[in-house]
Every structure is written in structure tokens, then in C-alpha cells.
Symmetry: C2
Subunit: 148 residues, 2 copies
DNA sequence: ATACTTGCAAATGATTTGCCAGTGT
DNA sequence: ACACTGGCAAATCATTTGCAAGTAT
């Protein structure tokens, strides 16, 4: 109904690896695609399409198209932290699930395994098998929940 | 940074109660506000602003303004199930947190208490105090997770 | 040579804002 | 009366689409 979460995560660690994945899927390796990949690789936090476009001097529409392509291949993913644009990150860096503090704005990335107990708790509570890949977990970080 | 989750939940069970809350805050009781409240009361699932506007024959902008007012007062809340418009519901009906099956589209509403163990698990895993009020928990319902 | 990609412009969907006429209090 | 609201039009933000020109294969 929403996104299709059935993309097999690919193994790659650099632009070269991602480029191979493109080739293997019969897609073309263009300068723009390399630039988008480089922008994502050089960022330590997820980026908006806008940020990628600026960082790489590319047209926003092309960036969106490429990001979508990368998501289809399982090279990238996007999350929503709140309102505002989706944020894109490569799906090759262990960390894939996010916590967002709506008070101080902190974004924390966790390895999926760290939230396994949470997913299990949801299973027990509601019988759902959930993923925290599309929406961040929103609340207060430890520091902010102490105050007031 | 995003929404301010610090609105005290109000006690009300019908349009009259909500109207009193408006009065107590010095806000005016207008036909449109009543209509928006009625639309929300008569719905069993959360509604988009669009649906409220159609159901009540009101201008979409006014509906958004009123829904925002209601949210500020703690009368209503909105959730996002995925992409697409936010969905609004009164915050007076036990059920306040949502699970969304991205395969069959099922929306399940839970009383906050039912997700307490989940919140606790997030606390243990990451030290965050999260709420599932703004984003639904997204995944597969029991039925859909069995298949395939 | 051909099919896939790009940039640019314009369309779309969700939500917000300006403004003035209308109306609760 | 006066400040708060409503409708309408237009603006804004995020994202998508159409299309002709450009390029990877």
C-alpha cells in the first residue's frame, strides 16, 4: 500500500560497489549517479534530495529520480524524522533505523539489531511485524527527557 | 523542533464538551468548528483534512486552521500512516496510537497502555522516551506476515 | 543506433498564508 | 464595536511528470 519493503539489501562499501550494482541491473552509470552516490557516501547523516542536489550541482528532479532508482535497487533508503523532506542514506552502513529527539533535534542511528527487542515487544503487543525504516522513532533523547 | 507534544489531554466526550473547551480558551464557537468536530466524532477511523472538508462542506483552508487549533488545545491529533495526508482524530477516545499494515492497508488503533512495553523496550535499547502518536508503527499485520 | 538519462518547465498533492468580508462575544 | 473566523485565491514545500536534447552502451 505504501512502500515496498522487499528489496534485498546489497553488499557494497564504496561508489565503485554501488556502480557495479547499477551495471548488474542493466542501468547506466552516469556522472549524475556517481555524484549522488558520492554525496551520500560523504555524508554522515541522511540527506534531503535538496541537499544532495545542491552538494552535487544537479537538477532536483534528476536527484529524486536517481534516489528512487537507488531505493528500488536497495542501495539507499529514506526516512522521515518529522514533517519536512524525506532524508536519504545509503543502506550499506549497518545503521539503518533512526531515533529523533523532537526537543533538541538529535538524530541517532542504530543498527537494526539494537531494536530487535522493540520489534519483539510490538509483536507481543499487537501481532505486527514492524520496521522502523520509513519513520523514525520520535520522542525525547535521554538528556531532554530529564529536563522538565 | 517538530510538533510540541506538551498539550494536556482534555476531558470531553461529545461536541458539547469540545465546544466548552473552546470557550474556556477564549476561542469562538462557530458553525464550521462544530461541523469539523461533528465530522471527527462521527468517524470511526482518523480522517484527512480533505475528507473533513468534503463531509462538512467547508473550505479546506478553514478545516486545516481549525484542526490546527484543535491540536493546540489537545482536542485532536494527527498521525501519518505512510506518505499521503495526515489523518486527524479526536484525542478523547482511549485509542491514540496506530499500527499500519503496509501490505493490506489495515489500520489498527491501540490504547496507549498497550504499547507501554514497547516504549519501555525503546527506553532500554536507546534511552529515548518515544511516543507513537505522530507516526504510525508500520509493518505487516499478523495475517500478512504469515503469507509468503 | 538505440534506449536510457538529463535538465528544464510545468503539474501534482499537501498544507499554509494574505486578505477582506462576515460574525461570535 | 472589535477581534476573531470564514471563504477564496494565491503562495509554499516536497515530489512527480512530460518532453526534447544529450549520452552510455
Amino acid at each position: 500500500v505504501t512502500d515496498a519493503p522487499d528489496v534485498t539489501p546489497l553488499a557494497f562499501t564504496d561508489v565503485g560497489g554501488a556502480v557495479s550494482a547499477l551495471r548488474e541491473h542493466g542501468l547506466r552509470v552516469t556522472a549524475s549517479r556517481r555524484l549522488v552516490l558520492e554525496a551520500l557516501f560523504s555524508a554522515e547523516a541522511p540527506l534531503s534530495a535538496e541537499q544532495v542536489a545542491r552538494h552535487a550541482n544537479l537538477d532536483l528532479a534528476s536527484v529524486y529520480r536517481n534516489l528512487e532508482t537507488f531505493e528500488r535497487l536497495g542501495l539507499a533508503r529514506h526516512v522521515h524524522l518529522g514533517h519536512g523532506p524525506g532524508l536519504y542514506a545509503l543502506s550499506c552502513r549497518g545503521e539503518r533505523e533512526y531515533l529523533f529527539c523532537d526537543r533538541c533535534g538529535e538524530v541517532r542511528a542504530l543498527a537494526p539489531a539494537e531494536l530487535d527487542p522493540v520489534r519483539a515487544a510490538v509483536g507481543r503487543a499487537a501481532g505486527y511485524e514492524v520496521a522502523f525504516t520509513h519513520f523514525a522513532l520520535v520522542g525525547r533523547c535521554a538528556r531532554c527527557s530529564e529536563e522538565r
